[in-house]
């Protein structure tokens, strides 16, 4: 089984994933007349399951749409007590040390994971558990907000896999960890 922990996330030029109020409307202000999916379907084609934090879970639940994931979703949370009944067959609560969480997910047969949410991504980066990182840079400086990166204990070298411009204005760059 291929095991890879992957990040696919958008940031402002100055490195924020949300504004100071948690708002993400600025992510979608670039004209996109052909509804380009910015590589999302291609990315998800090689994902077995999603692992997200509780904040991201709440944001996705708040969207006015059906549950959007076709793969199993693991929600990493110590505070959440149970998953709402309507999605209990597709969403699973996990907690504990990340390596143990991963071992459990792998045991379920899910090797290629989409790691999502600022805090969860930071937790994985701190333990050097991210293998692939796709960052889409939005051409705006927010000035302040929720950062993608916080202090990490060690330097980590990556390799550029590809970089391309999406809808004329977004730069999407894929890095993989050199090990």
């Amino acid at each position: 089984m291929t095991k890879r922990n992957k990040v696919y996330i958008a940031t402002s030029i100055d490195g924020f994933i949300a504004d100071k109020n948690g708002g993400i409307d600025w992510l979608n202000e670039t004209p996109n007349p052909d509804k380009d999916d910015l590589g999302y379907a291609d990315f998800m084609a090689n994902i077995d399951a999603v692992l997200m934090g509780r904040n991201t879970f709440d944001i996705v639940r708040g969207f006015d749409m059906d549950w959007p994931y076709t793969v199993p979703v693991y929600v990493l949370s110590n505070s959440l007590k149970e998953i709402p009944a309507d999605i209990q067959d597709r969403v699973f609560l996990v907690n504990g040390p990340l390596t143990e969480v991963l071992a459990g997910i792998h045991k379920n047969g899910h090797g290629q994971l989409y790691i999502d949410g600022g805090g969860t991504v930071q937790g994985f980066l701190k333990e050097d558990l991210i293998d692939d990182l796709t960052i889409t840079h939005i051409p705006v400086m927010l000035g302040e907000g929720i950062p993608l990166f916080k202090t990490m204990p060690n330097r980590m070298d990556f390799e550029l896999v590809s970089s391309e411009t999406k809808i004329g204005q977004l730069v999407q760059t894929h890095y993989q960890r050199m090990r």
Copy 2:
């Protein structure tokens, strides 16, 4: 006279321009057998003068080479008392509010300026005085260090001019301020 304030700088994936000790050796670790200049000559071809902070000035002075700039260099500093004798014909001390500093440089006939150094760039960004921003992303996460961006008071929208991969590993992106 065309007046534009331009930044041309490299950062780590996590947004640092130097490591926690001010070190920048990691900038030059990507193999570059053909000594590609990463667009520097093209960038400098449209620069009338350089404006840098005192730290950057000290770093450049510390390099084991002749003074590298062929255009006038303005050093923004309140602490520096005088410019060393060997470069007094090419380097000029300035200080005061940035708009006044700029007015003085423009009066000297220098309109297209290379704004360099972390603190100086941050000062210009805080006052929304940057027109062009070329960021070269190095595929490494340092974990900690001297950040390119600090908190800024306002959101600023940019436009992607171009993005290209340099020496197979660096992503160089040129943005211009939308006004």
